[in-house]
């Protein structure tokens, strides 16, 4: 961490359509270790939300416990938010989403919070297709408790003292694909040119959008034996597809260039342009996505980008026919239909 907050100077910066500079999307001073990947993820989120022109009051930040879960404090200081029980963020997000579907839900979790203590919660939030951006800041260790292996540690990856991990890792992307997520991506904290558009696309995806971000633990897992170090990730980094998010697709159809990009229109009218950087990868093909990740297991390459996208799935609100109006905007009479209505309801269970 630094000795002081970042000085607030923004006269040199451009403003978005809300009249805000990128600095207006920052939060309090980070207390993470100097060089932590999570701080870079935070910076990417700040950049993406500024570029989207997201109104800070339209967002709700949710997180559990861990180094990763601290980071919700470091961006959008003017948004709603809760830092809840370890591994229980998906349930809190589900509840919040059920009563107010208008907000943008931004969940930040880690490999411990999502793949160990909160694994069940993680799975069921995907099954429900909760409309949220779900980021896993994945570093392969429990940083907050001084560097034990987490469930995402690769076989053969060592601790700082050289002890290798022998347990099978959980790959959150494979899990998300098999559980039915409609937006699955992998990214790296060291590449904002990939992460920022992915965050924008994920936030605009209607349904559960997960980005597994390799975010090195600079203190406990950034050594020569680690497979989640900066050096290792740079060495084996392999983007399969490059994603650009273009807001308001109708404005850009006129300049439809034959650049070979796949185009996917999102629910709100935005468009994703997916450029293959690999020979033959189509993120709309779930079987190929799973195959690619499974084959990759042990092969060394870290395949990143938007791995899978399906825009045609009903989210939790739609599937459960939840009211479109947030409960806090419903009149008292609608929220509390009265004694007679209660009696009539109870009668059905007698």
């Amino acid at each position: 961490m630094t000795s002081m907050p970042k000085p607030f100077i923004d006269k040199h910066l451009p403003k978005n359509e809300l009249g805000l500079t990128v600095r207006n999307y920052e939060g309090v001073m980070s207390t993470l270790c100097a060089g932590c990947g999570h701080d870079s993820v935070t910076a990417a989120l700040v950049q993406a939300f500024w570029e989207l022109g997201l109104a800070p009051e339209s967002a709700a930040k949710v997180s559990g416990i861990g180094c990763s879960s601290k980071t919700t404090a470091y961006f959008m200081g003017q948004s709603h938010g809760i830092n809840c029980v370890h591994g229980r963020m998906p349930s809190v997000a589900t509840g919040a989403n059920a009563v107010n579907g208008d907000l943008h839900y931004i969940g930040i979790s880690g490999d411990g919070d999502s793949l160990s203590i909160g694994f069940g919660q993680f799975a069921h939030a995907i099954r429900r297709n909760l409309n949220m951006l779900y980021i896993i800041e994945n570093n392969g260790v429990y940083g907050l408790t001084k560097g034990q292996f987490s469930a995402s540690a690769d076989i053969g990856s060592t601790t700082k003292k050289g002890v290798p991990n022998e347990q099978t890792p959980i790959d959150p992307c494979i899990q998300a694909l098999t559980l039915g997520a409609g937006f699955v991506a992998r990214a790296f904290s060291g590449d904002k040119s990939q992460l920022v558009p992915l965050v924008k696309a994920a936030l605009k995806h209607k349904g559960f959008a997960m980005i597994d971000v390799i975010s090195p633990c600079v203190t406990f897992n950034d050594h020569a034996g680690s497979t989640k170090s900066y050096a290792h990730t740079y060495k084996y980094y392999h983007p399969l597809v490059h994603t650009d998010f273009v807001a308001h697709a109708e404005e850009i159809t006129g300049q439809y260039a034959e650049d070979g990009a796949m185009r996917v229109t999102l629910h709100d009218g935005g468009e994703l342009r997916l450029r293959k950087t690999d020979s033959d990868y189509d993120p709309r093909d779930k079987a190929q996505a799973i195959e690619t990740l499974m084959i990759n297991d042990g092969g060394g390459e870290i395949r990143t980008g938007l791995l899978y996208l399906n825009e045609d799935m009903p989210d939790m609100h739609a599937a459960n026919k939840l009211p479109q109006t947030p409960l806090n905007q419903l009149p008292y009479e609608a929220l509390n239909p009265g004694k007679a209505a209660l009696a009539s309801l109870q009668k059905r269970y007698r």
Binding site: T2, M4, G35, T42, G190
Partner: protein, 598 residues
């Protein structure tokens, strides 16, 4: 791009914008830190080493440092560098035993210096402690040159001048007053080893238009008139005064007029305000005293009735400007007579050397300006050197001082029989500013306070006394606030490419977005790749060696860097470090291989 060579002493020097802009390269952040620590005497001596007259310059310097100050790019106003210089001078202890001293014995070399202005005095200041016997010849009865004759006492009190000139006299320098040199040949015949000419640009320009001769009694040449006021030959002026010209001399003339009885003073400018030569703060000071500045009036004739000046007629000018603000078309739109009792001409001044025989071997150009080498200050006659306004035309005190430093080196080399152009190079010495985890030897936090203003004597009171200093100096609150506004640009961000693991921590924490890790490319492409494109090309772009994991390069736009050190605090491998850059500016004592006494 080629990786930036930060061993070039000019690279980090340029980052210290104020020091780079100062002709004498005063280490500004260093003395401001000393003031912040309450070390006023040390701050004064650091100043004196570079600019010789901190008390004088702390009041009347042209301040090339302030427009250059990085703070002015980060927020609205630069650091009040000049005011802080005066703070050091105002609050210091006795320094007469700390400045360079008279040597135990001289080296037998005799140097003549013509004119006791800042240039000659600087030469003497540099050479006398090394043993040179310096004799300064001054035409007037007081030393100081234009500092005493042209800068009014309400801006620069005589005591301040006397004290700082006194230090130089005490080094064994002889100042011969009332000794106008009428012949350079005569002077050279007296057997000096070298002659330095620092006689200024003493000839004020005249305005030969209709009515000039008839109205002569009420038309005054600005610099001559200021001199007559300073030496108390003139004590009053008419009620209505017109000043022709808008340089700093014009500002001194209008404000002096107010103190000699005028109550309606107008400064007449031929062009619009953006073309004025006067420093913005001098214009403000004049307007603060209710001087009216009138633009687009070009002098046509002096109006004379019954042999007496009654006014001046002006042509009313109209200008067309292009997008760059250059004048593309000029029109005259009638004339106007403005009544007045006196006119002061402040439209420039020239060198004049009627006392230099043209057959001595000193070459002059067609305007009568001597040919002087810009580095060595040598004329075409070996052993004769020029500096100050007499060398390259009117500049200012701080330039005169720098000329003096450079001429002193040349005079020493001339006397030693060394080549004048083989001079010590500048240098830079870097030392880590790290004192512990996130602790630095400077205050790295950013203080958002705005520039403190100078408290002034009430208008009525100051106009009643020509010698009353208008500016009161900074009080404790102003000092404490202003010193924290300095960004410590001399504490440099130094990058070690092999240590970088490309975690982006520095990029993310930088409060002014001046860093990026990008694929190498041409300078324009690199400048455009920053989040805030580096459009200010006057400021360098740092480019590192290729980084080990990706081969990309770290780039840094020096333009807005706050020197807050957050990149270094956030760096997990200390690839970024904050290092104090001590810029070495050689003076003659370095050339002579002697350690300076101060």
């Amino acid at each position: 791009m080629k990786p930036t060579d930060t061993r070039d002493p000019d690279y980090y020097h340029k980052v210290v914008d104020c020091q780079w802009a100062c002709p004498a390269h005063t280490p500004v952040p260093e003395y401001i830190r000393l003031i912040a620590q309450g070390k006023f005497t040390e701050a004064y001596l650091v100043n004196r080493r570079s600019n010789v007259f901190p008390g004088i310059l702390g009041r009347v310097c042209d301040r090339p440092c302030e427009p250059a100050c990085r703070r002015g790019r980060v927020e609205e106003e630069p650091v009040a560098i000049c005011r802080l210089k005066r703070v050091a001078a105002d609050n210091r202890d006795e320094v007469s035993h700390l400045v360079p001293q008279k040597p135990a014995q001289t080296n037998g070399k005799k140097i003549a210096l013509v004119g006791a202005g800042p240039a000659s005095l600087t030469v003497a200041n540099d050479l006398a402690p090394l043993g040179y016997e310096c004799t300064v010849f001054e035409a007037h009865h007081r030393p100081g040159g234009l500092m005493i004759s042209n800068i009014p006492s309400f801006r620069l009190p005589e005591e301040v001048l006397d004290e700082e000139i006194g230090y130089i006299e005490k080094m064994g320098v002889e100042i011969k007053l009332n000794s106008r040199i009428e012949s350079l040949k005569g002077l050279m015949d007296e057997g000096y080893d070298a002659v330095f000419i620092g006689s200024g640009a003493p000839k004020g320009k005249d305005l030969k238009i209709e009515g000039r001769d008839e109205a002569d009694a009420n038309i005054h040449i600005g610099i001559d008139w200021l001199e007559s006021v300073a030496f108390e030959h003139v004590e009053k002026i008419g009620k209505r005064v017109l000043i022709i010209g808008v340089g700093n001399t014009a500002m001194d003339c209008c404000r002096t007029s107010l103190r000699l009885g005028a109550d309606d003073v107008k400064v007449m400018a031929r062009k619009p305000r953006q073309f004025f030569k006067a420093s913005p703060w001098e214009l403000e000071d004049a307007e603060d005293e209710n001087v009216e500045i009138i633009v687009n009036h070009s002098p046509k004739r002096f109006v004379v009735e019954d042999g007496k000046l009654t006014g001046m007629e002006f042509e009313l000018m109209e200008y067309e400007l292009d997008a760059d603000g250059e004048i593309t078309e000029t029109r005259k739109a009638g004339t106007k007579i403005i009544p007045c009792d006196d006119v002061i001409l402040a439209i420039g001044q020239e060198n004049a050397f009627p006392w230099i025989e043209r057959d001595l071997g000193i070459e002059f150009d067609k305007w009568g300006v001597p040919l002087v080498d810009e580095t060595t200050h040598a004329s075409t006659l070996p052993g004769v050197f020029f500096g100050g306004d007499s060398a390259f035309g009117p500049k200012n005190i701080i330039w005169a001082v720098e000329h003096g430093h450079q001429a002193a080196i040349s005079i020493h080399k001339h006397c030693e029989g060394e080549a004048l152009d083989e001079r010590l190079p500048r240098g830079v010495n870097l030392a880590s500013a790290k004192m512990g985890v996130n602790e630095w030897m400077y205050s790295n936090s950013y203080d958002g306070s705005h520039r403190r203003d100078m408290p002034l004597v009430e208008l009525q009171e100051r106009l009643s006394n020509r010698k009353m200093e208008v500016e009161l100096g900074f009080d404790a609150e102003r000092i404490a606030t202003e010193v924290q506004r300095c960004l410590n640009c001399d504490v440099q961000t130094v990058f070690e490419a092999p240590l970088c693991k490309e975690c982006d921590a520095c990029l993310d924490i930088c409060p002014v977005d001046c860093l990026a890790i990008v694929p190498d490319g041409e300078e324009d492409a690199l400048r455009a790749s920053l989040r805030v494109p580096a459009t200010n090309k006057e400021q360098a772009l740092y480019v590192s060696a290729p980084l080990k994991d990706t081969g990309r390069v770290m780039i840094k736009d020096e333009n807005l860097c706050l020197h807050c050190g957050l990149c270094a605090e956030r760096c997990p491998t200390a690839a970024w470090d904050m290092q104090d850059a001590d810029i070495f500016i050689p003076h003659v004592d370095n050339e002579a291989g002697k350690v300076a006494a101060e």
